[in-house]
Symmetry: C2
Amino acid sequence: MTQRDDFNALTTSATLADVARAAGVGESTASRVLRGKGAVSERTRAKVQAAADKLAYVPNRLAGNLASTGSNLVGIIIPSLTNIVFPDFLRGANQVLEAHGHQSVIAVSEYEAEREERLIASVLSWRPAGLILVGLDHTEGAKALLRASGTRLVEVYDTDGVGLDRLVGFSNRQAGAVAARHLIGRGYRRIGYVGHRIHLDIRAVKRFEGFEGALREAGLSVVAQEIGTGTSSVEAGREGLKRLLAQGIEIDACYFSNDDMALGGYFHCLSHGIQIPNQLAIFGHNGLDLARFAPQPLSSIRTPRAAMGEVAARMVLGQEQAKLIDIGFELLEGGTT
Amino acid sequence: MTQRDDFNALTTSATLADVARAAGVGESTASRVLRGKGAVSERTRAKVQAAADKLAYVPNRLAGNLASTGSNLVGIIIPSLTNIVFPDFLRGANQVLEAHGHQSVIAVSEYEAEREERLIASVLSWRPAGLILVGLDHTEGAKALLRASGTRLVEVYDTDGVGLDRLVGFSNRQAGAVAARHLIGRGYRRIGYVGHRIHLDIRAVKRFEGFEGALREAGLSVVAQEIGTGTSSVEAGREGLKRLLAQGIEIDACYFSNDDMALGGYFHCLSHGIQIPNQLAIFGHNGLDLARFAPQPLSSIRTPRAAMGEVAARMVLGQEQAKLIDIGFELLEGGTT
DNA sequence: ATGAAAGCGCTAACAC
DNA sequence: GTGTTAGCGCTTTCAT
């Protein structure tokens, strides 16, 4: 197999002026045709279109947006790409944005607020039509930037707090509480917890707080916990449950910081002949598709990630009235509890 | 919870001229300071920096790139966001790009060549520093656009064919062949196949071709197959294997179009007491982390997706000598074969 | 219906 | 070292 060598022959792409000249019209007329705005005779329209096609004209949006001070870029800054939940969100957002002729500039903060601030500045330098951020926790510097920019802002994924502009998400605290009440309702009393490097994942912390709160209301508490140092993963969940059980504290149910972790726990039980849910019940968070088709569907909280992405996109495009939408979540009563 | 109302107070962000004026220097001097280019006295540098900070100045890259005819955007067009493999790739690419001060414009083609062409045009209108595409199959229109633009191009994920410019990936055909030889080597002879809406996923087709080819060389063939109509998923894999077994054709091993599908098959077996691998062996593709921690690690082909993203990013930044890099793959001999 | 001309905010010569 | 100026390619009045 050989790669060609002639690809990057220096090419100067055609400009609007080139198209206008080739069509024998003025620049502004060519511009009108190419954007479908303003009255143009059918004859000129055809001429211009033909010239543009022939020259393989691709408009320069740098120039276009600079001149019109309006961009079709939307910035999206997410914490991570290692778990499917944020791609799910992106998918929903991207679909709506693309349908409205917008383009996504995507950046990943790795759950670091400082990095998020830098990325916000970087994205704002493109003068985007809007910006979507995950969560409510941003540095003061980031907030100042956002306020100064006047860009439409949508925060997502978290309604446990006050947003800066628009907001769509659900209450992680309540999700934790619902998980706890479900376990309590099923009769579990000795409940453990396995989480991941949780100090960085603020929403996982909120879930755990909600979980503990609901236990407390029932006169219970988490009897044993194991918190990993790395990111969430099936492996971490499996190891976490193993270590939790090795503590020797008797538990009859275990709450995991999310479905990846829970699936790891589930696999640990399968491997060691631990009966689910008789010997040990397992509960996750996110309602990942893959966990719904395990031999015993994982009990979990389904979060409408793609739908949240769609709503966020509509909000950022100014198509939603509401400034605040709680998109909720759904308890999945699976076979593991 | 109340949302504030004062966020979108119309704000006109400061320009370079504003900063220069506030600092009492010329525009070009301010520009030099803010970009750290050219000689500036420490005193003026401090003045300008202070003014910029005070005005919360965010440079306008539309203007900057237009003036300098050089952008720090890199376009990445992937087929899908529903499976973790492309986010894995994005993660690797994005990490390198960000480290070099570049930003990703990401678009999703949904495996549709026509849509990819539109997205290429759209991305090119931002005059990106480079473009990353998945696979080798593009419309003629897309190729013309790419050639005319002169943008540095990197194609990824597929070395079974000739690329347009730069290329990093692995041979899907060989991956299929390796899977087949592995199964043959373990003594399986009656081999089935479960795939997803495969006509759209060209690389899955190539894997299957490689798989069949290697069987043929051994005097074997796929004795039964089941191809779903939707995208790949755990559910589709589970249903697919169920239907395959319902055909009544005896098989001792099953090759799946990827790990999601294979995991579905694995779950089907667990649910129905089918012994793995004694009664049925299972083989996937991708080497997803989550499948490696199942009670029996899934036998699969690990594809270095994040590493491929890193290489692709380096290529697009012009930091790789080679025009063609085969990044290979790794046979994972798990417990399911 | 069409064209001329003035910017959009910045960079890159080029002077001083 | 620093300021002046001419564009980058487009959109947008404003004439005609």
